[in-house]
């Protein structure tokens, strides 16, 4: 991948991933408001907004983060299965996307119920649920770990990565032997 394209892919990946992290933080705030508030209208608004953020921010950014991560790793020497930290991020990203897609059903249910309850304050308050707080909190922790992995890039290559590295070094050495430098050539042919 050309350096310019690589930097663009990296920028897109960081933007999507950080945006996802921020959106999860916003969802956590809404979830806490929905759970802790004694104001029925605030509870209603919180669950309605959770669905909007989920559908129009969380899901698109989650897929964007996954796709740009795949492009960025497969298009560079990092590879997808060569370094443990890249592999760990892939597993965490896939897990988060799957759980998010499954949990959107629950969010849809809560938002639907909140939208239909217009007159009963008691009904709205009974709708309060700790589940969105737990899920958003876990997602936030997972994304923070993924961000930390990206920054620190802890050491460790997989067997596949070590084999690829060995192959590349062998090819490099063979190429260096096959094409002598100008000075070496000068020594042979004065």
């Amino acid at each position: 991948m050309a350096p310019l394209v690589r930097k663009f892919a990296l920028t897109a990946h960081v933007t999507a991933s950080v945006g996802w992290l921020g959106a999860v933080g916003g969802s956590l705030a809404l979830s806490i408001a929905g759970l802790a508030s004694r104001d029925p209208q605030l509870v209603r608004a919180a669950y309605l907004m959770l669905k909007v953020i989920g559908e129009f921010v969380l899901v698109p950014l989650a897929f964007a983060s996954l796709l740009t991560g795949l492009v960025g790793s497969l298009g560079t020497q990092w590879g997808l299965f060569r370094h443990y930290w890249v592999l760990a991020k892939l597993v965490m990203n896939l897990f988060a996307v799957i759980v998010l897609l499954l949990y959107m059903q629950t969010i849809g249910y809560l938002a639907g119920a909140a939208a239909k309850i217009t007159s009963s304050s008691r009904g709205l308050l009974e709708l309060r649920n700790p589940s969105p707080v737990v899920h958003a909190g876990a997602a936030l922790a997972l994304l923070l770990v993924a961000t930390t992995l990206s920054v620190y890039k802890p050491r460790g290559m997989t067997r596949y990565g070590l084999r690829k590295q060995h192959e590349q070094r062998s090819v490099s050495r063979a190429a260096a032997v096959a094409t002598p430098t100008a000075s070496q050539a000068g020594e042979v042919v004065p």
């Binding site: 930097k7 990296l10 560079t76 020497q77 990092w78 060569r82 370094h83 443990y84 930290w85 760990a88 597993v91 499954l102 949990y103 059903q105 629950t106 249910y109 809560l110 639907g112 119920a113 239909k116 309850i117 007159s119 009963s120 008691r122 009904g123 709205l124 009974e126 709708l127 649920n129 700790p130 589940s131 890039k153 802890p154 050491r155 460790g156 290559m157 997989t158 070590l162 590295q165």
Partner: protein, 76 residues
């Protein structure tokens, strides 16, 4: 002013330096991550088996409680 540190290439990182690369097995942090992942998977399986999986809120009430009467009246 000094140039900002450039984004490291794979050749720069400790992961590919011979002096820091373990000769056998994955690093400790990978084992810790793997163990935590395994515990998480076990917890999820237990929750699914005990009826705390996805779709619970649509069929079984809210957190094990009875759905709000105003919701039930509207057929949700």
């Amino acid at each position: 002013m000094a140039d900002p540190p450039r984004f490291p290439e794979p050749d720069d990182v400790a992961a590919v330096r011979p002096d820091r690369e373990p000769t056998t097995g994955p690093p400790r942090w990978v084992k810790v991550f793997g163990l935590m992942g395994l515990v998480l998977v076990v917890l999820i399986v237990i929750m699914l088996l005990t009826g705390h999986g996805p779709g619970r809120h649509m069929h079984g009430g809210l957190g094990g409680r009875t759905p709000p009467s105003s919701v039930s009246e509207r057929g949700v």
